[in-house]
């Protein structure tokens, strides 16, 4: 009944797409975090900046990611100005376009998460840092950003899982990552169920590992929430 040869062959072919899936996920997540922090800080910094960030978040969160990928990949090339610029070697490649669209998209969602984290930093901590004579930069680096990051981590974890799944949209602009491979095998063999099982298993493993890693990081960053270990035993 179950064609194990076909399943094994399919799994092997799908794993061939795993490097691209991993590249797209890690690069866009990391670049997205950097951009999200910058956007969240810009939103606080000035009125014009705040307006800009709000408009950015409104547009990027109100439209489908697929449309954003298409706009970058097919839309930008319409202009001779862009085709003759130094950016063209990058914007011509579906890989870079996918990275760009995914990063811009996740940064919009991320900036709201970071904003929540920044808002949760206790005023007392900031005042204490100021009293201790820290400069603005030191205060952000040592006090505000670490506290905000810890606060934002659970929500950000969900966003990263969504991003890993979203890399599948890159297959529509010809990138052969896991979903792209799956599409090719399905349209060749019409065995949708088996291919879905294999591809699903790969994505489930990825998202499972990611949520575990985030959970571990959260555990590490919140020692004060843990119950103290009673190593003293009889003494206590």
């Amino acid at each position: 009944m179950i064609d194990t040869d076909f399943l094994a062959e399919t799994l092997l072919k799908l794993l061939g797409g795993l490097p691209i899936t991993l590249e797209l996920s890690t690069i866009s997540i990391l670049a997205g975090v950097v951009l999200a922090v910058l956007l969240a800080l810009l939103r606080q910094a000035s009125r014009v900046g705040g307006l800009f960030v709000r408009a950015y978040v409104f547009v990027l969160r109100g439209t489908p990611l697929l449309l954003q990928i298409f706009l970058v990949y097919y839309g930008l090339g319409q202009f001779p100005l862009i085709r003759h610029s130094i950016l063209w070697p990058f914007l011509r490649e579906p890989w870079w376009c996918a990275i760009l669209a995914l990063t811009l998209n996740t940064a919009a969602y991320g900036s709201e998460i970071v904003r929540g984290g920044l808002a949760a930093v206790p005023t007392g901590a900031v005042e204490a840092a100021r009293v201790a004579g820290m400069s603005r930069w030191t205060m952000y680096r040592r006090i505000i950003l670490p506290l905000a990051f810890r606060q934002a981590l659970p929500a950000y974890g969900n966003e990263w899982v969504i991003m890993v799944k979203s890399t599948s949209l890159a297959s529509i602009v010809t990138l052969m990552e896991v979903t792209g491979q799956a599409y090719a095998i399905i349209s060749e063999t019409y065995r949708a169920m088996e291919v879905f099982l294999c591809a699903g298993a790969i994505y489930l493993t990825l998202t499972f590992l990611l949520t575990r890693a985030i959970g571990a990081l959260e555990h590490r960053l919140t020692p004060y929430l843990r119950r103290p270990e009673t190593t003293l035993g009889g003494l206590a």
Binding site: G62, L66, L67, G77, V161, S187, Y203
Partner: protein, 238 residues
């Protein structure tokens, strides 16, 4: 400016009619998927809060798998898997050739199933938020199961679930763009067609952006109004 008015207007050269129809199609497929998702979510929430092992396990597998796998993959499963099944049935009745599953149906089932996994958690959380005392009071007043469901539980559930359901709706609206891979002519597909035949992809994708923004913003306003309306009993008089 005049040329873009002509391009996106309702004149003989304009794409206005097609884009408007595509917008309606996006709304139709999203709404069907959303309601199918509520049905899936109700089943899922019932399964998760059941005391029997099998429904609980089934609901857990459902939400874990669907939330861990890309939506596009689920759409492919329904599109190709559904077409294979339909073809097999058609052939059994003596028909020949390839029988595809309708893009609208694929979109409704696939996007609905995915949104149902999120809806499960929304509904479960809302059910848990109903004060136990109210249910006990209903029982004490001698209400039957059905009467209690539609007089006490359902109205309270809807009130607590509304914000979460609003989020799911916005998500469904955006996810419906993926259904364009089945050839269903909604906003995404229509802008692709326009972009291809006029060689003005940027303009068409920007119009697509605007159409989605109109839909998400309008639904945002409506949802906000609905939330206010459902919470009116909890507002204090000024």
């Amino acid at each position: 400016m005049a040329s873009s008015l002509e391009l996106f207007g309702f004149g003989p050269q304009g794409w206005g009619h097609q884009l408007l129809l595509a917008g309606l199609m996006t709304l139709a497929v999203s709404a069907s998927a959303f309601f199918f998702g509520i049905a899936c979510g109700t089943l899922g929430a019932w399964g998760k809060s059941s005391h029997a092992l099998l429904p609980r396990l089934a609901a857990d597998v459902y939400t874990t798998v669907v939330r861990g796998v890309p939506d596009l993959l689920v759409i492919y499963l329904f599109y190709f898997g559904g077409s294979t099944a339909v073809s097999a049935i058609a052939h059994a009745f003596g028909a020949e050739g390839f029988w595809g599953l309708n893009g609208f149906l694929v979109g409704m089932l696939a996007v609905g199933l995915v949104s149902g996994a999120y809806e499960t958690e929304v509904l479960r959380g809302a059910y848990l938020a109903i004060p136990r005392g109210e249910i006990e009071a209903a029982k004490a007043a001698g209400m039957g199961r059905w009467l209690m469901l539609h007089r006490i539980i359902a109205p309270r559930l809807l009130r607590f679930a509304l914000p979460g359901m609003g989020n799911v709706w916005q998500q469904v609206l955006k996810e419906s763009a993926l259904v364009s891979v089945t050839g269903l002519v909604e906003i995404m597909r229509q802008t692709q067609i326009g972009a291809g035949s006029t060689r003005q992809p940027f303009a068409f994708y920007i119009v697509g952006f605007l159409l989605y923004l109109v839909l998400t913003t309008l639904s945002g306003f409506l949802l906000h109004a609905a939330e206010r309306h459902s919470a009116r009993s909890e507002r204090r008089p000024a």
